[in-house]
Symmetry: C2
Subunit: 339 residues, 2 copies
């Protein structure tokens, strides 16, 4: 499809490739190999970015592309200190805006000016503002008709894939509806047809909220250990009011969610030895995507936040079969996280 042979250091725009056997998509993004952390050494050097050279710290704004969004003091100017949250295009993007075969956007949200402070340590209202920033970026990015899905995710720690220590979150707007979302919508459609009216997830949440896998509950959100958790101490946070996308989250809910997340991440730290984790938003496809029309109604997906702790390596069995082996009973994980 592209010129073969050598030249791994040539510039090469990101390319979305489809595997005919698995049906899987892969983003081939050679320019990401130029990131500060050399991927060839296996585990990125965790302490590679001493504070003085961190491109995400205040005073080093010129080391990132120009900001596209920020929460900053009224007297401060873009791309200078004075911000609390800053959104910039990824300097080593997995996708770039069109024209090109696989247009998309890849943004980095710098969670706070603090080089060390993880979400579990941020003030409630700062975390709330961060969630609001995600909601705003979602609304902006989903206005692009080429965007089929927006994936917001956080890799906390080197074993989760973070290449820079300074806490940050990534947003990838992709031109193909992910297979996993399509599958989930189709499964929910089937379940709804078999069980009767309404969103099957709404019923699942209330059923699980009354059982041994409940971790935290308030009138707006339920935090659950999934029945078929892939990872030890996996946590899903669901809105109890049906909504397909995080875009639909209301003002009051943002603060409630921020408080709950902070509490859960603190509990995870205490119960499981401060593990690295992925945190990701899973929601409906962007309006107009193929996935949406295939599944018929936007209603049959129910957004959630997933916290996926990294307590063991994913092994060959998982890659071969797609079946995960989890050594921690979800009911035990829920009890440990509650207690």
């Amino acid at each position: 499809m592209t010129a073969g042979g050598g030249g791994s250091r040539k510039t090469h725009p990101p390319e979305l490739r489809h595997d005919p056997l698995s049906g899987r998509w892969v983003l081939i993004a050679p320019d990401r190999a130029r990131r500060p952390n050399d991927y060839r050494n296996g585990r990125p050097a965790w302490a590679a970015g001493p504070r003085a050279s961190c491109p995400f710290c205040p005073g080093r704004e010129a080391e990132t592309p120009a900001e596209v969004d920020a929460l900053r003091g009224q007297t401060s100017v873009p791309d200078s200190p004075g911000w609390r949250i800053r959104v910039v295009p990824n300097k080593y993007p997995a996708l770039v805006p069109g024209p090109g075969p696989s247009p998309g956007r890849h943004e980095v949200v710098i969670d706070s000016p603090d080089h060390e402070r993880e979400w579990a340590d941020l003030p409630d209202d700062h975390l709330r503002d961060l969630l609001e920033t995600f909601r705003r970026r979602l609304r902006v990015l989903e206005n692009d008709p080429a965007v089929r899905y927006v994936q917001i995710f956080k890799n906390k720690g080197a074993s989760a894939g973070a290449s820079l220590r300074h806490p940050h979150t990534q947003i990838l707007a992709v031109p193909e509806g992910p297979r996993q979302i399509r599958d989930e919508m189709e499964n929910l459609e089937r379940t709804a047809a078999a069980e009767g009216e309404g969103c099957p997830v709404c019923r699942l949440i209330e059923r699980e909220a009354a059982g041994p896998r409940l971790i935290q509950l308030n009138p707006d959100f339920a935090a659950l250990a999934p029945y078929a958790s892939r990872f030890p101490y996996e946590i899903h946070v669901w809105p109890r009011r049906h909504a397909a996308s995080f875009r639909e989250t209301g003002e009051a809910e943002l603060l409630i969610l921020a408080r709950m997340l902070k509490d859960l991440l603190g509990r995870l730290r205490a119960a499981a030895g401060d593990p690295d984790y992925h945190l990701l938003l899973r929601q409906g496809p962007s309006a107009g995507s193929g996935a949406e029309s295939r599944a018929g109604r936007r209603g049959f997906i129910h957004w959630r936040l997933e916290i996926l702790p990294i307590l063991a390596a994913v092994a060959g069995f998982e890659w071969g079969t797609g079946c995960f082996i989890n050594p921690v009973l979800p009911e035990s994980a829920a009890a440990a996280l509650r207690g």
Copy 2:
């Protein structure tokens, strides 16, 4: 489904759980948490097994369950030294034989008596004997009518999920046909229907063998960098003669494959800095499984060996979407592995 709350140290038989949203299977196997390496510390301690205490070294045969297969000198007796290859049930199984809700088998093949020697360093004929051992175990395990699929896989190194240093390979016989195999069979069936007669993979191999993603070729096998490689330096080794299962590999081919694998692993070590890797066999389901009957004919799967180097962590984007980001162009990887 099971008793909730506490008790993570109680004995609990492995349980196969189905996730209604994704359609994914998860094996909940709490007893695996008792393995020598404590999963709660994130990365297993790589050097945790000093030679004197390795349960896979000769002289410590009593520390494993009794062997079910072995290549050993004629004067030696089972479960004592004198073996070259030894197969034992996994002491911390992800699946156990029935009765029970999720019967299966989990075996460990101890690759050689040598605590350090990886596949790249084994003599050709030893590696051949190892491949023959896999073929023999496949034939034994697939005779069990409860077995739907046999996954043979190797995790080399801690970042690949190995908990013990001594080189070994795992065999998991599972009671459900993996979704990934079913998907692949269905995709091949569709492609075959659209393109005309015969196995689409047979044509793909010959097409790729003439292009920039070829790594090694002989009359029996082709080693290719997949067009949509998920991992940097990913390698697939295909038999050029159509066969659905590794069971069908002939005597002469075993030695040719052993030599090729050894050569490829040496090239990977040189080109990519001796990375950890998964190595896995992907093949048709066991006779009589649902996957087989669904896809109609056993012909439309073509077995392969996959080598999946671990050069970067799988990140939140991949878990959220199922789409991988690969920073190395497969054509560049093939050139580096050829050169």
